[in-house]
Structure formats: C-alpha cells, structure tokens
Symmetry: C2
C-alpha cells in the first residue's frame, strides 16, 4: 500500500508542505486536516476584508478543496481537529465537526507534518463579553465582520499596536468607527526600533486614531445588555462598544508537547534545518515552529507567512523522501502598508543586535525616494551595522507609498550575503528619475557610515 | 601653494569627483570646466522636460554654480571648453565662450579628472536640416523645446528605440504629435533580450506610436522652406516635420586620445579600478571611460548615470590623495518607466552571456506582483542563470507601474553576491499582500529553474 503523509493544519505552511510532497511522491496518499471551516486562505488579507476592501470573505481563498483534490490529489478535510498525536502507533486522533455534531476517528500516518500555526494571545484572562473580538483567523474575522454588519458600532478600542493591531485600527477607521489604540509598550510596532517606529505616529494620529502608548489593557466592562461598554486600562476606562484584542500570537504547540516532541527555548516546536522534530517521522513547519536567525544563528520565533510557506515546502519535501531540503532561517523581514505609509524591517533591530552580543552602530537618514525634479516621495532609512566588521546587520524603513517593500528586499539580500558597507555603496542598482534616487538611500547610509 | 585639481566636465561624474575631492583635500584648489552653459543638471530628466512634465528646464539643475562656490569651494566654470591636454606640462588649453566671444586661456593642474561624458551618435552623415534634432544634452533639449514651442509640429520621426528613443517617443506623443519610431534592429531596447523587450510593444502601439523595426534611417529630405519634410529610410520615406535622432551615444574621447591616453577595446578611455588612466596624474570617470562587467570581468562600456556618479567619487578621492578607492565595475543595471510600463535589466543578457562563454539557461514567467485578492498588478520576469554553477547571471523584467525597479535591485544584489538559485529561493523577502507576492517572482523563477 502507498505511504500516507498526514498534515495537521491547512493554511500557509500545511498546504505548501502538501503540494511539495505531492510532487516528490506521486503515489503517496496525502491528507490535510484543518480544524477550521476553510483551508487555503490568505490570512494576511483579513484586515483588508474587515476594512471592506475585499468582499466577500471567500475572495481570500487561494485554492478550493476541489482544486486540491482534482489538481493535486490532496485530500483536504476541513472541520477536522487533531486531538492527539500517538507517535508510537503513528496515528492521530481526530474530532470531526460536521453539521453541529462531533465524531471521533483515527488516522494513520507514515510521515506527519505539524503546521498548527499560532494562536491568538489574549490581553487578559477575563472571558470575552459580547463585542469583544479578535481578528487573526478566518473564523474570528467572520464573527467580527458579522458584528460590524449587524449593528452600528461607534467606538472601538484596539489592544496592541503591532502590525496586526495597526491594520485593524485602520480597517475600523475605514468602517467609520472612532478608534483608540492602546499598547503596553512605549512605541508602535515593537519589532522596529522606537526611533523609527515613532515616525509612523503622525500618520496614525492624522487618520483620527487616538494612540495610547504605555497603557495596559486590564479587562472589559459590560453594560446591562451584556455588551461591552468600556475597556479597562492602566490609564482608566476607555468607552468602547467594540474591543478588538490584537495582543499578538503565540505558537500553537499543544499537540506537539503532548506527543512528547521537544520545544525550543522560544516555546515553539524545535526543528532542525530539515524541519524535522525530535521524532524521526514527524516534521513541523510554519508559525508553530522555532527557526534560526540568519544573522545571529540563534533560535528565534517569527510568525511570518513568507517563512511559513518556505518551511512548509522543506518539510513536505523531506517528509516525502525527496532530495534533502534545508531551511536556512529567517531575517524577520516584514513590511506593512498602513495609514498611507509603508513601513518595515529586515535583519536585526538595535535591541536584538545588542542582545545577541554584536557591537552595533546606527545610521539613519531621511532621503528622497526619487529625483527631486521628478517627485516628492521620501523615506526614512535606518541602517544597523557592525562597526568592527562593517557588515550590514539590519535595516528599517518608513516612507511614502511604494517606497519601502522592495527596497527592504535589496537590503535583505545584502544582509544574507554578509555584505560590507563598502560593497553596498558600490552596488549597481537601478536608476530612473521617477523610480529611484541617486545614490539610493541604502547606499547613501552606507557611505555616511563609512565616513565616521 | 595648494594643489590644484582640475576636472573637465560638469555633469554627473565630474561634479561627484569634485565634491569628493573637496572632502578629501580641504586645501586643494578645485576647478570644474564645463563647456556647456549649465553644470550639474539631471540629464536623465530631459525627456520629462520635453514631455512638458518638468518646467522650466532650470528645475533639472541640482546645484547652482553659487552652491558649489559657497558650500563646497569648488569653482565651476561654464562655457569653458577644454581644447587640449598637455600632460607633459600638466596644463589644459581652454576656450572660454562668453558673450558671443571666445578667448583662450591655459590652466595648470596637479591632478586632472576627465569626465567628458558621451556624445550623441548620428544616424547618418548628412548635416541636419531645420527640424532635425537630438535630445541628449541640455543644449540639444533646449533647442528641441524651443522648436516645439515656436511652431506647430504634426508628425515626428524618432530614430532609435533604445531607452532614450522610447522616452522621446513618449514625450512627443504627450506633446500631441504623431510619432513614428524607427529602429535598425528587430526589437526595442537592444540591451534586453528580444523575447522580453517584445512585451513592451503592445504598450508602445497602444500609445499611438507607429513602430518600425528593422528600418535604417538613411537621410532627411527638406521642403522648399528648408525644413525637414520626411525621413528617408530603408523602408521608404516617412513624412515628418520633426526628426529626433536618438541613435545613441559614444564615449567622448577626443581630448584623451590626443593627449596620448590609452583607449580600451570598447573605444572608451581605459582606466584601472582606481579610475586612473595610463597617465599617472590623470583620472577619468563616467561615460567617457571603459569599465569592467562584474559578472564577466571583461571590459565594457555602459553609459549610465548611477555608475558615472560612483566612478566620479572614486576618481575624486584618488585624485585628491585619499585612502585608495576602487570601483568594482557594473552590472549594467538599467530601468525605464515608459508608456505606463516599467522595464529594465541587470547583469548579463542572453546574448552577452553566450558571447562571454557562459553556459546559460533561461527561466521566464508571468507572475502576479501582489496577492490576487489585493490587486491585479503583474510583471514578467526573465532570469538568466548558469546551469553548471546554478548562479544567477542576469535578470530582466517588464511590468505594471511600481513593480520593476526595486525588484531589479534585489536581483542586482544577488548577482553581485554570486548567489545560487537555491539561495535565492530561500531569501527572506518582505511580504504584504498589496506590495509583494508569495513567493516573489524571482524566487518562483529560481524554484522553477531548479526543478528542471
């Protein structure tokens, strides 16, 4: 009988694992278990759905179950919740939720890929009231959209000013709500250096979002109708008839831990560069796993789609017995378009560099993104480098629309290649007056840094 | 007495040489000789000026003569035409054109930087008639603009479909003229592979430009009023009351050759990686010089602004006796935004790779530039790689506005770093649904190529 590859989780990593496994092992039986109602959707598009820009929600579905079945002979089972992995018996116990009923079944595997993703953290232990939502998954976003559609909300409190919280705040403003954004830390976008992230604040305020840094969300207060009427915070109560908790994510490791798989120092599932767990027959990929930072070599946890898809491919290839594939780790490259600005980072932040023991220096500049006679688009670029080696360690940017994302890519390639400032300065980059600057901001920063 | 650094040529390379020299040698006397009426202007912006998008022409001036004098203590002398370099006496004979008169003077130097740039090639030996123009320099563009402003032209013939010819054709369309574009070769943009360049043709035609490949411009025909009335070509006469000859450029080497400086196999001034010529005291930079291709290591001539500015800095630093600076060569990275499309290249084209003796394979794909649910922008990417080493050799792209220029940069960095396909596939690039694709087209091409 043909080998069975079982995959737990049907979003980014799980489906890329399944697709790669299919190409490597044409005869394998490949089954994907997704506990939610929908597999293969672009979770990064949920904020745009909630903003009303993408509708209906089904437009976020990349491929249908039928596509996987017919085009790739991959069985995708939605509503299938893995309850327990039994490594000794190579079997997974599954709850099948269908038509309001739940049945249990067991599925065998020869190779297992865990792609359970991340779960939403909660700002506080208090159970949610009516009007308290999250927006990280298909189901959460569906419930939030239903709430927005069903009654008139006026005042929203968004908890957490990471990139998801910012996107959520923008989406709710577009839906016409007043929005207060509360964040425990002193700055927006904790993964960026404060000096750079602060440059986003004017755009947040200009959009009418009330920004409250250094504020802990402590609970919610309901009215007599059982609906939320305020968010309680360390800075007092904030009136709100909608609360969206964007406190962030944590790796979904319950199944793996119960099965005795090793977790890493970050709390996520430990895997080697083949995406293999501490059990020979079990691989893991995506937001549930730990990975390595390409600059420090140290374990890190970075729940980002681009890495998840690549890890899924590596896991799928190795699980299917293909030529050994390896995942080299991440730079934590991320970008977000929000409030008319683009902002992002790649490589180490200043704090991360210090914590990793690097000597680190900063070069920040505000620069034209194109020839002065051709347009007014600008960006601020913050470059982190190691003075002792003159290697680029990280780069962060904020700028006008269209100025950041692919400039970050060029920096990401340079960091991956271990380039020095003098090499960056001499890169032959594309120049056209309306599209780029001469010299490009990254090269100008490298030049300025070298002059010190 | 303080050392004198003399620079011939006051556009990109010459002024960056002067500015760098000033920083290195605070006491040197630095003089820039520019034969034209204006120094320090963005020549790449001339097509936008002619299109009527940038006006007056003076907006293209980056820094005034007074700026150089007062901020940088650099003497910029316009209307100063270098007639002869006398290396034995470290002296340059100069014609000073002022108020309609010409006087001669001689200037001494300790170090000389030649930055004479490129001159416009002509399609044919016949002297120009009234109505026959070029558009590569300040003076040429000024004359063309004056012609466009002074009388009503109806039909233009543009000779040459390189990127300057394309920009010119677009500019003239914007000014309301009918435009015929004739090109000797079979394809647009000869520096790109034909298969990729052909994808620009629909946009050229949609803009109302009549495109005539494989057509030699052979002369012009005047009317009884002495004005041009047709362009004569190998495909017959093309009625035209305006002809713009964009036959391209060639290095301006007359002064250098007369002074006995060595020219390289491309016909441009030979320099080493310090931008030093065959004369110890004479440096050269920019479009008049030959450089090395970073992939092949072979001499090449690539008149592009981004390289000229860097070469100027290297020449200026070394001429001023600073810490040795070296120019590592070029990838020939170029991009142009034209007819609503962006198109460009970096590294070797297929023909260049074959001529250089590389085994070369092509991977071309049409890909989304962003998540399908987020927008419809697309691009076509053509990747050239060496099968024996799996190294990236070159990359060409054409796509919707905003999709190409900085993606080319990421490819240029990867080529400079000698990256292999498998490394490119695993780069951690920025993903956000509205800004980029997952995987990015370059990574998808690398993946597809590896599967072969």
């Amino acid at each position: 009988m043909s080998e069975r590859i079982l995959i737990i989780g049907g979003v980014a990593a799980g489906l890329s694992a399944a697709s790669r496994a299919r190409r490597i092992a044409p005869r394998a039986r490949i089954t994907v278990l997704e506990r939610g109602p929908v597999a293969s959707y672009g979770a990064c598009g949920l904020p745009a759905f909630l903003a009303g820009e993408i509708t209906p929600q089904e437009r976020l579905i990349v491929h249908s179950r039928e596509f996987f079945q017919e085009q790739r002979r991959i069985e995708v089972l939605t509503g299938h919740e893995a309850l327990e992995i039994l490594p000794g018996r190579r079997r997974v116990r599954v709850a099948v939720h269908q038509d309001g009923r739940t049945q249990e079944r067991e599925l065998d595997y020869d190779r297992l890929v865990i792609a359970t993703g991340a779960r939403s953290r909660r700002a506080c232990a208090q159970p949610p009231l009516l009007g308290v939502h999250q927006g990280n998954t298909w189901t959460q976003a569906k419930a939030l959209e239903a709430a927005l559609a069903s009654r008139r909300h006026r005042r929203a409190a968004v908890i957490g000013a990471g990139y998801i919280g910012l996107e959520m705040a923008e989406a709710l403003r577009r839906r016409g709500l007043e929005v207060v954004l509360v964040e425990r830390a002193a700055a927006l976008l904790g993964r960026l250096d404060e000096d750079l992230a602060a440059l986003l604040e004017p755009a947040v305020s200009a959009a009418g979002v009330v920004w409250k840094p250094g504020t802990n969300a402590e609970g919610w207060e309901g009215g007599s109708n059982g609906e939320v009427r305020a968010l309680q915070t360390s800075a007092g109560a904030i009136p709100a008839d909608l609360v969206v908790d964007c406190s962030g994510l944590e790796p979904e490791t319950g199944l793996a831990a119960t099965a005795g798989l090793r977790l890493g120092p970050t709390g996520a599932i430990a895997v080697d560069d083949r995406q293999q767990t501490s059990q020979f027959s079990i691989f893991a990929a995506g937001d549930c796993t730990e990975t390595r930072h390409r600059v420090t070599g140290a374990p890190c946890w970075m729940p980002l789609a681009a890495a998840a898809v690549k890890q899924g491919r590596v896991a799928g290839q190795n699980a299917a017995g293909g030529e050994m594939a390896r995942f080299p780790g991440v730079l934590g490259t991320l970008t977000v378009a929000v409030f008319g600005r683009e902002i992002g980072r790649t490589g180490l932040s200043q704090i991360e560099a210090r914590q990793a023991g690097f000597d680190v220096a900063v070069e920040q500049l505000d620069a034209a993104a194109q020839a002065g006679y051709s347009g007014k688009r600008r960006l601020t670029l913050r470059m982190l480098y190691q003075p002792s080696t003159r290697r680029l360690l990280g780069c962060q940017m904020i700028g006008d629309a269209g100025t950041v994302a692919h400039r970050l890519d060029a920096a990401a390639v340079a960091i991956s290649a271990g380039m020095r400032l003098e090499e960056i300065e001499m890169l032959d980059l594309a120049y056209a007056p309306s599209l780029s600057a001469l010299p490009e901001p990254l090269q100008m920063a490298a030049h300025n840094a070298r002059r010190r």
